[in-house]
């Protein structure tokens, strides 16, 4: 490879994002092309098939499976109410008459003469999809959903938990090095997207939840605190469906790590603006990172800015993403073509970085840096 490609997370003040808002099954789209939508607007609606209950008529009535149809009080396809008699038959020697009641509201989907099972389908479950982000409908996928386009700032986090939410941006700390503690959170943060600094404590997250904060965005969090928050050790990094009453987005990682200046500047410059936040993270092929989207007030404004360069070159601004220099930012001053030996004795491709804060130089594996858009 001529040069390494080490993509960083996107932190950009002006961009165009499109979000597909799609139903899990076909249904009705409620908005049209060109419509302006807000995050809470419902754009599509459908009904999921209801849960299925199986009722073993043959064993409960004491009849042969082949004869359960004769015992039915209502036919296949009929609606039934919970407690209503589904079937009845005379028991052994015709003595006691047995009946079977519906375990729930629903309709009779099928009856098998092989197994004697009746399948009762409960009423459908309504499902709605909201626009999630303020923007304009630029595409309608018939019967399935829409694509909403928003223009504004985008910040991708490295890890998050909790689902989609939105609220006005509030900054609760004084600097990107600060820690977000419970005392920093106030009742007026209710419904807001609260920005912390380098670290958020478990107590602060609990307090945020009590206050009804929509989301917390911070540099880092301790894994032990994540475990306490979730009530379990997170195994595989697939998140977004947790029911925490709060969405959390980490911009840097686990531990206390200063929030990058770009992220801090982007968020603090947009205090009071409406942000849409998703904690959904999936770290496998088809990587999905959590995000904070802050649309411009005027949806017609300008196009996006250039993406971060895709090549690592001398002069590139990078951030180290693994020990021993984790979190430090600097400029690439050398890209040696040959493999170099690390302390581990592994031979790998490296770069030499000069750190921005103290001017010190260090050799770092190329795999352990991410590019920062300049």
């Amino acid at each position: 490879m001529a040069h390494a490609y080490t993509p960083g997370l996107r932190v950009t003040a002006r961009t165009v994002v499109r979000r597909l808002r799609r139903l899990p099954l076909k249904g009705h789209v409620l908005v049209g092309l060109g419509d302006a939508v807000g995050p809470h607007d419902v754009v599509a609606r459908t009904e999921l098939p209801g849960n299925v209950q199986t009722v073993n008529l043959a064993s409960r009535l004491g009849v042969d499976p082949a004869r359960v149809v004769e015992a039915l009080r209502k036919g296949v396809g009929a609606d039934v109410r919970s407690g209503e008699v589904l079937a009845e038959a005379n028991g052994l020697f015709g003595l006691a008459r047995r009946s079977v009641a519906a375990p729930a509201d629903g309709f009779i989907e099928s009856v098998s003469t092989v197994t004697g099972q009746l399948i009762l389908r409960e009423p459908p479950i309504p499902v709605e999809v909201s626009a999630y982000v303020r923007g304009v409908v630029v595409e309608v996928v018939p019967d399935e959903g829409v694509v909403v386009e928003a223009r504004g700032a985008l910040l991708q986090g490295i890890f998050g938990v909790g689902g989609e939410t939105w609220g006005a941006v509030a900054v609760a700390v004084d600097s990107p090095e600060a820690q977000l503690t419970p005392v920093r959170l106030r009742p007026e943060h209710r419904g807001h997207v609260v920005v912390g600094g380098a670290h958020v404590t478990l107590d602060a997250l609990r307090r945020a939840r009590e206050l009804g904060v929509a989301a917390v965005v911070a540099g880092g969090l301790d894994d032990l605190d994540l475990k306490s928050l979730l009530g379990r050790d997170l195994g595989v990094a697939i998140t977004g469906s947790e029911d925490l009453g709060l969405t959390v987005v980490l911009t840097e990682g686990f531990g206390r790590i200063r929030m990058s200046d770009r992220a801090w500047d982007l968020l603090t410059a947009r205090r009071g603006r409406l942000a849409s936040v998703s904690g959904a993270t999936q770290i496998r092929a088809g990587v999905l990172r959590p995000e904070v989207l802050i649309p411009e007030s005027d949806t017609t404004t300008a196009a996006g800015e250039a993406e971060a360069g895709t090549g690592l070159a001398v002069g590139s601004l990078v951030r180290v993403i693994r020990a021993p220099h984790f979190g430090r930012v600097g400029q690439v001053t050398e890209l040696p073509p040959e493999l170099r030996r690390l302390e581990t004795e592994a031979l790998v491709r490296v770069l030499v970085v000069t750190f921005a804060d103290d001017g010190a130089r260090a050799q770092v594996p190329r795999a352990n840096v991410e590019l920062i858009a300049s």
């Binding site: 299925v52 989907e109 099928s110 092989v114 990094a237 686990f254 693994r322 581990t344 592994a346 770092v364």
Partner: protein, 614 residues
């Protein structure tokens, strides 16, 4: 498949291109016939392009082949096609490929009784190279609606439905088919095609199952995988899985229709191909073999152990959430931090370690830069391997409760009683692969990781797959066994040496065993190793053989009985002979932290595990 060209005759093959389309990287190798036999000529790789924005697997294949072209200095492609057969020094005679892109083949299996047909169905799917997402059975403790919800939510690529012995109860099997109908599951790769279902249960129920499932799924009915309680017959189900994998799953993955036209050999799931090469090695060398591939997301374990009558029995398991990057935090969750920390030769703050492991999970492509970081990763690898091996042992068992016959890749006979077939004393060779083993800065580090994780007993050979070429060689072995085994031995397998570990326990420092090694071009070496210690004795290079003789003290067993000497001729290796007198049955590490760290440091020093002075 119909219309596929026949592979060339082995004697006409001089040049072979083989690729493995992994979930993140597509690897290509060029193999050519030379005077000494088939050899690896060049290897290239490129990111896999199944996902957006490319959504065409052939792009990644072509990119990897272009790298091989550059390295080998000759043309292999004609535009966007692989040039076959070779003409005027350009192109190759044969192209083969494996694939695990897009997460591999993900299946759900069902049986009537979890421990019987459920387990047999699981073995059939795993043997075919699938990841088993879940096993559904009548007695799995879930209510019918929960089974239905699960089938709907998991969206498997394929379902294997089994249950009942031939001539047995039809009703129960039909019940499972009805559950499937009620769930109406959608295949993972989109709603545009029917979900492939293999039925391999009670043949008397096949008619009803057809009636229920044929209108809704791509159903294939094959022989019962458990025709009688005493017999397992997995081959037909496994073949049907491969066939449906090609015709349905692969054909709907982006770019695969085109890829399939490039090769005269069916595209094989990556783990199935690795299993094939492990089986061939076991048969050729008449050894019990354990193969392990530890990746970023999953760990595969393959084994060939002897059954009751001495015939080899093959097993494969995959631990879907044990790995070194994407799944690293799950290793921590499953093993628990204390079990990881017990392998680390220095004190670590628990909170800091947890954050460190999590940061690896969210930035999976980073590598350890400090020695401390490397030793922690290797400690995690030991636990991932140990857990994966535990899962393998639990599934590599005889049929529960009876004496019978089992077929996996071919008809084989084996022992019974539901006991694990994994016999550590009989284990002859461990082959490790995956970055943490294959790329360990010192080969002895890979050796010790495998010893600590698997705790082999008696004498066991150790090797690593240096560049993870097993998948390509596995699929190649189906059409050109000679080329596959020659390259495997010469260019793929790195023989590390052997480990000698007596069974028994004693006091630290007590006499345990005396070992002697002799070989060509080396002075004989003899060493007394006390209980509780480790030692490293030299071996000749892998191309030469060495003789190992060992005499255990009374109370210790090397496989011939307590206190009885053993002697064996073994291939050499680049690490040497590791004598592990730390005890077996049980193997225990000191409970006290300071003592444990001191012991770990002493063992590491004895084996030369780390740079001097660290």
């Amino acid at each position: 498949m119909s219309g596929r060209a026949l592979p060339p005759r082995p004697e006409d093959v001089h040049s072979i291109l083989a690729t493995d389309c992994g979930s993140t990287t597509t690897k290509a190798v060029l193999i050519e016939r030379r005077d000494e036999g088939f050899r690896l000529i060049a290897r290239g790789e490129a990111p896999t392009t199944v996902e957006a924005p490319f959504e065409d697997v052939t792009r990644g294949v072509l990119n990897a082949v272009r790298e091989v072209e550059e390295l080998a200095g000759r043309r292999l492609l004609e535009g966007d096609l692989i040039l076959t057969p070779m003409q005027f020094g350009a192109g190759v005679d044969l192209y083969v490929t494996t694939s695990s892109a897009g997460g591999g083949l993900q299946m759900m299996v069902s049986g009537l009784v979890l421990q019987m047909t459920g387990e047999s169905a699981q073995r059939a799917a795993l043997g075919a190279g699938a990841i088993v997402m879940d096993v559904i059975a009548l007695n799995d403790g879930r209510r019918p609606h929960e089974k239905i919800r699960l089938l709907r939510e998991l969206r498997p690529d394929m379902i294997l439905l089994s249950g009942g012995t031939d001539g047995g109860d039809v009703r129960r099997v039909t019940e499972m088919a009805e559950v499937l109908v009620a769930a109406d599951p959608v295949a993972r790769l989109g709603a545009g095609y029917e979900l492939p279902v293999v039925y391999a249960g009670n043949q008397d129920a096949a008619g009803v199952v057809r009636e229920l499932l044929e209108p809704r799924t791509a159903l294939k009915v094959v022989e019962n995988l458990r025709p009688t309680l005493e017999r397992e017959n997995l081959r037909p189900a496994r073949d049907a899985i491969h066939e449906l994998f090609m015709e349905h799953v692969m054909a709907h993955a982006p770019g695969y229709r085109r890829l399939m036209t490039w090769t005269p050999v069916p595209v094989m799931p990556t783990p199935a191909a690795v299993g094939l090469i492990i089986e061939r090695v076991a048969r050729r060398d008449r050894l019990s073999v354990l193969g392990v591939d530890i990746g970023g997301a999953t760990t595969d374990v393959f084994s060939v152990f002897r059954g009751a009558t001495g015939e080899p029995v093959f097993h494969r398991t995959v631990s879907a959430n044990l790995g070194m990057s994407y799944s690293v935090a799950n290793v921590m969750a499953e093993a628990g931090l204390p079990d990881i920390l017990r392998w680390v030769p220095f004190a670590v703050d628990e909170g800091a370690l947890r954050n460190r492991i999590r940061n690896k999970m969210i930035r999976p492509t980073t590598i350890p830069q400090t020695l401390e970081d490397l030793l922690i990763e290797q400690a995690i690898a030991r636990e991932a391997l140990r857990l994966a091996f535990g899962q393998h042992r639990a599934l590599a068992v005889g049929l529960k409760g009876i004496q019978q016959e089992r077929t996996i890749s071919e008809a084989l006979t084996q022992s019974a009683g539901g006991a694990s077939l994994v016999d550590l004393l009989d284990l002859g060779l461990i082959i490790g692969s995956g970055g943490v083993l294959s790329h360990a800065p010192r080969r002895v580090q890979a050796a010790l990781m495998m010893i600590d994780a698997f705790l082999p007993e008696g004498l066991t050979l150790l090797a690593v797959d240096s560049i993870f070429m097993s998948p390509q060689l596995g699929v190649l072995s189906t059409v050109h066994e000679q080329a596959a085994t020659e390259v495997f031995e010469r260019d793929c397998l790195v023989r590390l040496g052997a480990v000698l570990a007596p069974i028994g326990t004693g006091r630290a420092g007590q006499a345990c065993l005396t070992v002697e090694v002799s070989g060509p071009d080396m002075a004989p070496v003899s060493r007394r190793v006390p209980f509780g210690e480790m030692a490293l004795l030299p071996l000749p290079p892998a191309s030469a053989a060495a003789r190992i003789s060992a005499v255990p003290e009374r109370g210790f067993d090397l496989g011939a009985g307590r206190g009885r000497p053993v002697s064996a001729q073994v291939p050499g290796g680049c690490v040497g002979l590791i004598v592990d007198a730390r005890g077996r049955r049980p193997f225990e590490l000191p409970a006290d932290t300071a003592t444990r760290i001191a012991r770990l440091r002493a063992w590491h020093a004895a084996l030369g595990l780390q740079p001097e002075g660290r």
